[in-house]
């Protein structure tokens, strides 16, 4: 007689990264609790892409699900990294802002509604340039309005990561959850190499890229909150815990004095060692909060 052998953990793991934006968003919601708003069949597409011979997407690369997470009213807004690298255009930006603003209205009327942003994006969609940039400014304003009432939880899973103007949206969030595969930074390595030269940043050096922008580094230096495995259950559990936690005592983007001092303490005579920042910055992740 043989005893059954337990399946190794990885057999039961379901990759979050392999899912498209819609499936990622669905995996976070309480089953049966949600519906999609302004979805594919509404056909709210970009008017600008077809003018340039580029096929639009029926949801303009932004998925909005409204429902509950851990029983609490929530809205998940997910950018599709597979469409135009998740870049923000007029319509996708309007959907994100509108959903955030409606969550704020509900919260003001007594129904606190948490927002979860799945940011898989290179930032502004260059084919819509100024309308994309304006949309990002409006998303930032909408995040700050909702933040008075309810947390905004940003999840960056990869493979696109979160770059460009929407990295500011991540920076304004209440909590940031990342995988090891994910990256978070304002300027992508190629852009830095292009603008400041290969000595400044060799965009082909993948080790360097993750050492600076990778999920493990961002969490270890205290500018993101949690490193999670690429697994739908684990990511869902992390999101639920932040939904339940509610607003943090203080948002990172309000900790001006702490970060001013950190900048003053940097030795800029050479490049900064990312590992050194893990030590010097993460004794406390926030003022008054040890985690």
């Amino acid at each position: 007689m043989s005893t059954p052998i337990a399946a190794p953990a990885f057999v039961n793991r379901h990759s979050f990264i392999e899912l498209d934006a819609r499936a990622r968003a669905q995996s976070l919601m309480d089953p049966g609790s949600w519906r999609e708003l302004v979805g594919p069949f509404d056909r709210m597409e970009s008017p600008w892409l077809p003018l340039q011979g580029i096929a639009p997407q029926s949801d303009d690369g932004c998925v909005v699900l409204k429902g509950t997470i851990a029983g609490a009213p929530s809205v998940v807004i997910a950018l599709e990294g597979g469409f135009q690298a998740g870049s923000m255009g007029e319509v996708s930006g309007a959907k994100m802002s509108a959903a955030l603003d409606l969550a704020t209205q509900d919260s003001q009327n007594g129904k606190k509604t948490t927002a979860i942003l799945l940011l898989e994006t290179g930032g502004v969609r260059l084919q819509e340039a100024n309308l994309g940039l304006a949309a990002i400014a409006e998303v930032m304003a909408s995040i700050l309005a909702l933040r008075e009432h309810a947390p905004i939880i940003t999840v960056i899973a990869g493979t696109v990561g979160c770059f460009g103007g929407l990295a500011l949206a991540a920076g304004l969030s209440s909590y940031i959850v990342m995988t090891r595969e994910a990256r978070l930074g304002m300027n992508g390595p190629e852009v830095i190499e292009q603008e400041s030269g290969i000595e400044e940043f060799d965009a082909s050096d993948r080790g360097l890229i993750w050492a600076i922008n990778g999920g493990e580094q961002r969490v270890a230096m205290g500018v993101a909150d949690e490193l999670v495995l690429d697994d739908t259950q684990k990511i869902s559990a992390a999101v639920q815990s932040y939904v339940k936690a509610g607003l943090p005592q203080v948002h990172r983007s309000r900790q001006v004095e702490l970060y001013r001092q950190r900048m003053a303490a940097l030795d800029t005579s050479a490049q900064i060692d990312p590992l050194m920042l893990r030590q010097s910055w993460n004794s406390k992740t926030r003022e008054g909060d040890t985690r």
């Binding site: 594919p40 580029i54 096929a55």
Partner: protein, 98 residues
């Protein structure tokens, strides 16, 4: 950029659901399939790759030779191969027949 349209008047079986599959990534496409509400199927395709009308017709003819649902199909395409097109259409059917 091309907008192509095709009709299949003999596809008359009523279907109840709609389906959406796919992402408009490079070499890929999305399919929106919903009940036509009348006899016959209508397909509209917006594609960023011009000159493949014949290819599209061939794939759709093959598809409708096996599928008789009265559906309205819209496709946003960024260069999917005929094999991928068929796969996406079949995935959509799977959803509506579930």
């Amino acid at each position: 950029m091309e907008l192509l349209e095709f009709d299949y008047p003999s596809a008359v079986r009523r279907v109840a659901r709609k389906a959406h599959v796919g992402v408009v990534g490079s070499g890929d496409m999305e399919v929106l399939m919903e009940p036509a509400g009348q006899d016959g199927a209508h397909v509209s395709i917006r594609t960023s790759v011009n000159g493949f009308g014949g290819s599209w017709k061939a794939v759709l003819d093959r598809f409708f030779s096996r599928f008789d649902g009265a559906v309205r199909i819209h496709i946003n395409d960024a260069g999917a191969t005929p094999g991928s097109v068929m796969l996406r259409l079949e995935q959509a059917v799977e959803v509506i027949e579930r």
